[in-house]
């Protein structure tokens, strides 16, 4: 046990503490670090320019989360409704792409979306003759890439509670005169909230701090928080400000996780009761 804990402490806790400390120092004139205490870096995070990038990142991550959850939930619902023996197979193939290389999955979207890419070819084939649409290097492309990359996880997270749902609950609701829509809204949806929350948090947290997808699908000048942090460390050489940005990113991550833990706690009692206390 001890060696693992030492490893985690030395190579995660200490470096992260170091970054936290860095955030309170000043940037040296030649790009080094000037060891005088300052809160300027955190002030700069709230500067309209940078706060704008945070908001944009949150908006992109939020949109990607929304799409991923809607599509992922529909897929999980369809898998859970399929014949029992097919469910593990469907689930396996839904998750499989998730384990292939992230860069390659993102690159696949460059092939699809670029001006001479597959989608433009398809449009031409159907008789479209105008200018090729510019799809790559847009916010939409970044969102598509994020949804594509994280969808398998949402399917997995939503399938777990859906497959455990006691079918008698839905029947009871229908027998009592509720429409299919009401049954879904009042019975099925509330019982599967923990899965939705877990999937949503995962997509949001990984999207808002993402570096690769905006860099590849958003184009060279497209910036989300991850790219901003990258620039401070590798090009602008302002490590203290980069550190403050990283801490802000961690703070957002923690807030989102805490919100999820609270939502899950509130929902878990409900789920246990409805499924006959057998399963949480």
């Amino acid at each position: 046990m001890a060696p693992a804990l030492v490893w985690l402490t030395a190579l995660m806790v200490v470096p992260c503490a170091l970054v936290l400390a860095l955030a309170f120092f000043r940037r040296g004139i030649y790009g080094g670090i000037d060891y005088t205490f300052t809160l300027e870096n955190f002030g700069l995070v709230f500067d309209p320019l940078y706060a704008g990038i945070f908001l944009k990142s949150a908006r992109i991550a939020g949109t990607a989360t929304l799409f991923a959850v809607v599509i992922g939930y529909a897929a999980a619902y369809a898998i859970a409704a399929a014949p029992r023996r097919w469910q593990p197979i469907f689930l396996f193939f839904a998750v499989l792409p998730f384990w292939s290389n992230y860069l390659i999955r993102t690159y696949a979207w460059i092939v699809l979306l670029n001006r001479e890419g597959l989608i433009t070819q398809l449009l031409r084939w159907f008789g479209y003759t105008g200018e090729p649409p510019s799809m790559l290097y847009t916010e939409g492309a970044v969102i598509a890439g994020l949804v594509y990359n994280y969808l398998p996880f949402v399917i997995l997270a939503c399938y777990a509670p859906l497959s455990r749902l006691n079918p008698e609950l839905a029947e009871a609701s229908r027998d009592l005169g509720a429409s299919a829509a009401t049954t879904f809204r009042r019975v099925i949806l509330p019982l599967t909230v923990p899965g939705i929350a877990a999937g949503a948090v995962f997509v949001f947290v990984l999207s808002i701090g993402n570096f690769v997808t905006p860099a590849l699908l958003g184009g060279g000048r497209f910036q989300m928080i991850g790219n901003l942090v990258y620039d401070q460390f590798l090009t602008a050489n302002d490590w203290p400000f980069g550190a403050a940005l990283a801490m802000a990113l961690i703070a957002i991550t923690l807030l989102v996780l805490m919100a999820q833990a609270m939502a899950a706690n509130r929902a878990s009692g409900r789920v246990t009761e409805a499924n006959g206390g057998a399963d949480g």
């Binding site: 693992a4 970054v19 399929a82 690769v212």
Partner: protein
């Protein structure tokens, strides 16, 4: 589930078809292009393996693949050992301290870019020259957490009284581990190791920040990133196909060994 109207059933099949098309068309296009003589997505000009052949002659890619293999094997070996011991330690004592849980959970949720810059700051602060060894040190951090969580899942249903029984019957701690504990957790340990290997092979950002200057410690994902970012050659489709095949094989094996662990 309960009987459904034909319309509902058709809708559900439609959803499944669309989602699987969304998931697999981009991958299928890449794989198909890797066998396209012309290499461009604009036209199919005949089946060819020439991009695989040219890949085999690209020394930059081969040396980065070798680097990736070294990093993945060494970091997986260390992480499997440490992660398994950590899992046993935590589960045997049943002390689920909040701080301890957070420490083990953190590497899985910390944004990659944050861990990457933290390690870069740390290594440059202690004046450690960066290279493959620093990538390995970094990869063990998250690999260890994943191995630990896979093994812990298996240990949750482990009956610790058989360990006591073995000790009562006079077996040493080591014999007990080798003959009693290990056979029970072996599938989870191997599944965890395969998972760690896959993660390490695919990891880009942390490696990028902890590789140091120079091309000597470029890993395969770093090479792929550079190829995508600065001039796409058709070779990348062939490379993508091979990398996907390797990861998917490793995952399929891992899944078979630890059936249902990830699916439930």
């Amino acid at each position: 589930m309960a009987e459904r109207s034909p319309a509902t059933r058709r809708t559900l099949w439609l959803v499944l078809t669309l989602v699987f098309a969304f998931l697999y068309i981009p991958i299928a296009v890449l794989v198909a292009l890797s066998f396209n003589e012309g290499g461009l997505p604009t036209a199919w000009s005949g089946f060819s393996l020439k991009w695989y052949v040219s890949l085999a002659h690209n020394s930059a890619i081969l040396s980065s693949a070798l680097n990736t293999l070294i990093v993945a094997l060494v970091s997986t070996a260390i992480a499997t050992l440490l992660g398994t011991l950590l899992a046993i330690g935590v589960e045997m004592r049943r002390q689920y301290g909040k701080g301890l849980e957070a420490l083990i959970f953190a590497p899985m949720i910390i944004p990659d870019i944050v861990l990457a810059i933290a390690l870069l700051s740390f290594f440059s602060m202690i004046n450690l020259t960066m290279g493959l060894h620093t990538i390995i040190l970094a990869h063990v951090v998250f690999n260890l957490a994943f191995v630990c969580s896979v093994v812990r899942a298996r240990l949750k249903s482990f009956d610790w009284s058989i360990v006591e029984a073995s000790a009562d019957l006079g077996a040493s701690a080591l014999t007990t581990f080798r003959r009693v504990t290990l056979p029970v957790i072996a599938p989870a340990v191997i599944a965890g190791a395969l998972l760690a290997f896959t993660l390490s092979v695919d990891e880009f950002i942390i490696a990028f920040f902890t590789a140091g200057a120079g091309r000597a410690s470029t890993t395969l994902p770093m090479q792929i990133y550079a190829m995508i970012r600065f001039g796409i050659t058709p070779e990348i489709n062939a490379l993508a196909t091979i990398v996907m095949a390797v990861s998917i094989t490793a995952l399929t094996l891992s899944q078979r060994l630890n059936r249902g662990m990830i699916g439930q």
